[in-house]
Symmetry: C2
Amino acid sequence: MGTIRYLEIADALRAAILAGEYAVGAQLPSESDLATRWSASRGTVRQAVATLAAEGLIGSRQGARRIVLRHERRHSFGELNSFAQWAEGLGQEVTSRFLSRVRRPATAEEAERLALAPDTGILAVVRLRLLDGEPTMVERTAYADWVAAAVEALPDDVRSVMDSLANESGIVAHYGEHLIDALGAGSEDARLLEIRRGSPLLRQRHVSATATGRPIEWTDDRYRAGSVTFSVSNSAVTTPLERRTGEG
Amino acid sequence: MGTIRYLEIADALRAAILAGEYAVGAQLPSESDLATRWSASRGTVRQAVATLAAEGLIGSRQGARRIVLRHERRHSFGELNSFAQWAEGLGQEVTSRFLSRVRRPATAEEAERLALAPDTGILAVVRLRLLDGEPTMVERTAYADWVAAAVEALPDDVRSVMDSLANESGIVAHYGEHLIDALGAGSEDARLLEIRRGSPLLRQRHVSATATGRPIEWTDDRYRAGSVTFSVSNSAVTTPLERRTGEG
DNA sequence: GGAGCCAACTTGTTCAGACAAGTCGACCCC
DNA sequence: GGGGTCGACTTGTCTGAACAAGTTGGCTCC
C-alpha cells in the first residue's frame, strides 16, 4: 500500500534480510544495481538504505558494499511508548489495575518536564501492570492539563491510553525522551510488585510530545529486575544514546 | 575545516541552536531560505537538517516549518563507548584498578556475542572504575581473539583501551549495540563497589564492532545505582531504543 | 462573531547527472 | 611467494528541477 517508493524498496529489503536471504556480514547489492532492478533513481534507493541504516540493520563504508549487521527487527515508536502495544506484540496477556487517578498541582519536576507553569493542575495516574498475571511494572503518569479532560473521559479499563488518545482526540505522540536508571524498591513499589523492599528495579522515565514539541505526559515506570531489558544500537554516524550522571 | 558542505551548514545551525538563537519550540528558517543564504541546493540543506533531526535537536512535519526540540548536545560515539572519554568530558577524574587480565576459552554467550567458534581463546579483563576516587563501576570485558594480542601489548595504566587500539593498531569501532537492565549486586560486585550485597545496580552490556561488522569486544558494565542515567530520544520516524523481555 | 474555503508557503518525494573519495581484487614485477 | 600498482567498482556529496502533500493565516460569506 505504501505508494511511497523508497519505503517500498526499504520494506522489500528489510523483508529479504529478515528472511535470511542475506546473512549477517553479507554484502547487499550495489545502489545502482538496486536502482536498475526497481527502475528508481539512485537517490531514491539511497533513501531506502538510509532508512535501514537508521534501524541498525545495515552499515556502510564509502567505497565498499553495504553489509548486513543484524537480522532482528527494531520495535516501532508505538511499541516503545505503549506498554500494552509492546506486550501484545509478544503475545503475552496484559492486565492493569488502577490504583489512583487524581487531579493535583504539578510538582516542580513535573511542571518542568511538561513545560507548564508551576502548580498547574495535572492528572496523576498510578497503575500496576501485569504480564500473564505477574506483577511486572508500576507506572506513575502525570498528564498535562490540556489533555487531562480527554484522559478522564476514557473508560477505566482502557487497554492503551496513548492509543485511545490518538483515536478519540487526535492527540498523537511524535517525539519521546527516555531516562533509564536503576534504584531500590520503595515500600509501595515492593508491596505492589510483591518483592522485598530495596530489591533492584529498572526505572524508565519518559516524556512524550506532540509533533509541535508540546509535552503530553511524563511517566515513571519501574520494572521488576529481570523482566525487561532495553536495547539501543548506534554507530559512528548516529548516536541516539547518552550516558549522564546522577539524576539526569 | 569541514569541507563537506552539509556538515558545515549543520554545524552552524547546531551552534545557533545551542547559543539560544532559536528558543525551544521556535521555528527554523525554511529550507529554501537556508539554501539561498548558504548558496547551496535544497538537497544539501535537507541533508544538514536531517543530521540535526537524527541528533534529536529538531523535529519536522510536512507542510510546517521545522521546530527546535531541545538545546543540549548529544554525546559522541566515543563518549558512549569509552568510560574514560565520557568522564573526561565531564571534568571528573577517572582512575581505574586492574583486577585481572587473563586468556581463557570463551563462554557460550561470549562466543555468540563475539561471533566466534565455541571455546575460542579470548582475553578477559576485569577493571574497577573510580570517579573522583569513588568506586562507580565494575567492568568485565571479553576481547575477541584477533585483538587480544594488541590489547595485551598496551601498558597496564592505559587511559582508554578503545582509544589506544584505534591509534596503535588501526582497530576502530564503528557500530555498537547496548543492552540495559537492572540487577542486584553479587558478592564480588558488592565488595568492589563498597555497597551491600543485593543493592541495585544498573547494568549496560555492549558489543563494539568494526566497520565490517566484526565484533571487537563484549563488556558487562555495572554501575552503582544513582551514579549514571542513560538517555535516549526518539521520534515517530527513527526509534533506536527497544524494550525486550528478560535476558535480552 | 463563527464557519468554511482558498492561496501562499513549506516540507516530502523523486529524478538524472556529475564528480570526489575510498575499497578491493587482479595483475605485474622482483 | 611477497609486495606494490592500478583500474573497475561503489559509496559519498552536490546540483537543479519538478510535483505531491500538508499547514497556516487570511478572507469571504453567512
